[in-house]
Amino acid sequence: MSIIKRKRTRELLLIGFFLAPSLIIFILYRIIPLIWNGILSFEFWSPYKPAEFAGLYHYQEMLFYDDVFWEVLLNTVIFMLSSPLGILLALGIALLVNAPIRGRNLYRTIVFMSYPVMTVAVGIIWQWLYNEKVGLINYILMSLGFIDQGIPFLESFNLALPCVIVASIWQVVGFYMIVLLTGLQNIPPSLYESAAIDGANSWQRFKRITLPLIRPSIFICIVIGIINSFTNFDLVFVMTQGGPGHATDLLITYIYDEAFKLSKFDYAAALTVVNFVFFLGLALLANKLSGGEAGAVETGD
């Protein structure tokens, strides 16, 4: 009994040791800042003044008076709900470039390439692509005779957000692709071989083997999609600055503006807390839907 117990303690120590470096980094750079934000959200504070207790002032302000908050929250949710499109596209691409075909390295590189490009420059290019008068998309549409007049994509309240989402999918699809590709790599080919012997067609093989086994990767992608909806900051910042009106403002761009443009750090902190609670709830839901434990799977052998 005691041997087992000792072994168990040792194992726990080991697990603790393994988790420690990552945990320390996250506590320093995530948890403490979150607590800082949490405290700040109940205060009146600016870099120049000592803090004063504010109670729920900022939260009341946000929930009852700030209609922009609700607008950007809605935008963020729309942005997030669009992420499955990107994931599906990426899954398709990942399956294709996972096949043993010639030149797949090239295809992978091209698809991935848009992810590491600096957003500042790409943002300007996207703005031009969407431009009403001289943009490429309108030019092509007009040359093909679909329209007579350019469509003001980014200047339209209804089209601006979808346009930013398309650009964002363009940027992030390569990222999804490699995460999914990693998942596909984890599937032992022997499973396919035995399934093929059993006479399963490719759709059945996909449904019965591929999909269940890459569930963890899909979970990661969904989480990334959620995160992306509030960290995809640069692209919005460069392409539209949240405009027109607040049509493309996301929570994060709004928080950043409130904090650093308007020096309302206390209010931004309250927004941060709400943002955090909301998205944590969603991530936990995703965790639950994917079978708990960040989408763990047991390989059946």
């Binding site: 194992e11 726990l12 040791f17 750079y29 294709l96 708990g292 960040a294 763990a296």
Partner: protein, 270 residues
């Protein structure tokens, strides 16, 4: 394996790639001609392309110095990421009390965007005495949750029988990781290398805030030199983007060769 025609793959992938490349072609073209993007009608082929904007970039900022700094920081980040994430990822494949709590903690850490942590993170880094250092730039991204989960997924996929066999052989845990799990998780390592490198390489706001010394600046910070209001530096701006992009692509090309289906079983024999 199975015989099927390859051409539908090529057709589909070529179409996708062509679409993906459109914005990129303009980046490349502008870096070679410096032309006005807003010219109408748009032209696909560059006129009088030349490489001199790249020369401009090299000399207008201390490019080499920044390159070395970026490289050092990324090296720290990549190595730390592989080690720390593999360790944490392995821990999460084991059963222990509070595992659920740790997973939730990790998930919640992901939900805190970097932009809202700037001020406290700065103060913490100041307390640690790491302002203006490579390590200070690297520290916040030395372990990343996405990659921990990538590792966890890969480790989970390692056949139980293999681990049990190793354990019966009396191998301690850390040996199991580095002798059984890691060799079987090559694609996870590759993903880690690629992502950690790119995140660190493109990191902009954090180095901007904590670095005051000219000699410690990293490449993305050179960007502002090409966005001044009084002179047109379009060509140099895009050339700069390409130059910053290339190392990331090289790393991708090198690491992605690990993505070869069938590795798991192949290695399982040994």
């Amino acid at each position: 394996m199975h015989r099927y025609p390859h051409w539908p793959f090529h057709v589909t992938l070529s179409t996708i790639c062509a679409l993906m490349l459109v914005p990129f072609i303009w980046v490349l073209k502008t870096s070679l001609t410096g032309e006005n993007i807003f010219t109408y009608p748009p032209s696909v082929l560059p006129q009088d392309p030349h490489l001199f904007y790249y020369v401009d970039v090299w000399y207008t900022i201390p490019f080499f110095r920044y390159l070395v700094n970026s490289f050092l920081v990324s090296l720290i980040v990549v190595v730390a990421n592989i080690v720390f994430n593999a360790m944490a990822g392995y821990a999460l494949t084991r059963e222990f009390i509070g595992k659920k709590a740790i997973i939730i903690l990790f998930l919640s850490c992901m939900m805190i965007p970097f932009q809202v942590t700037i001020i406290p993170a700065y103060l913490i880094t100041k307390e640690l005495g790491l302002l203006n250092t490579h390590l200070g730039m690297a520290l916040p991204v030395m372990s990343t949750i996405v990659c921990i989960f990538v590792f966890k997924a890969s480790f989970d996929a390692v056949p139980r029988s293999l681990i049990d066999a190793a354990r019966i052989d009396g191998l301690p845990d850390w040996k199991i990781i580095f002798k059984v799990m890691v060799p079987l998780s090559q694609s996870a390592i590759a993903t880690n290398i690629i992502l950690a490198f790119i995140w660190s390489w493109n990191n902009f706001l954090w180095p901007l805030v904590i670095i005051r010394d000219q000699h410690m600046q990293t490449l993305p910070l050179g960007l502002s030199r090409f966005l001044t209001v009084v002179e047109d530096t379009t060509g140099a701006l895009y050339a700069f983007c390409i130059m910053v992009l290339i190392p990331g692509l090289v790393i991708f090309l090198l690491a992605q060769r690990q993505f070869i289906a069938g590795l798991t079983t192949g290695a399982a024999k040994g």
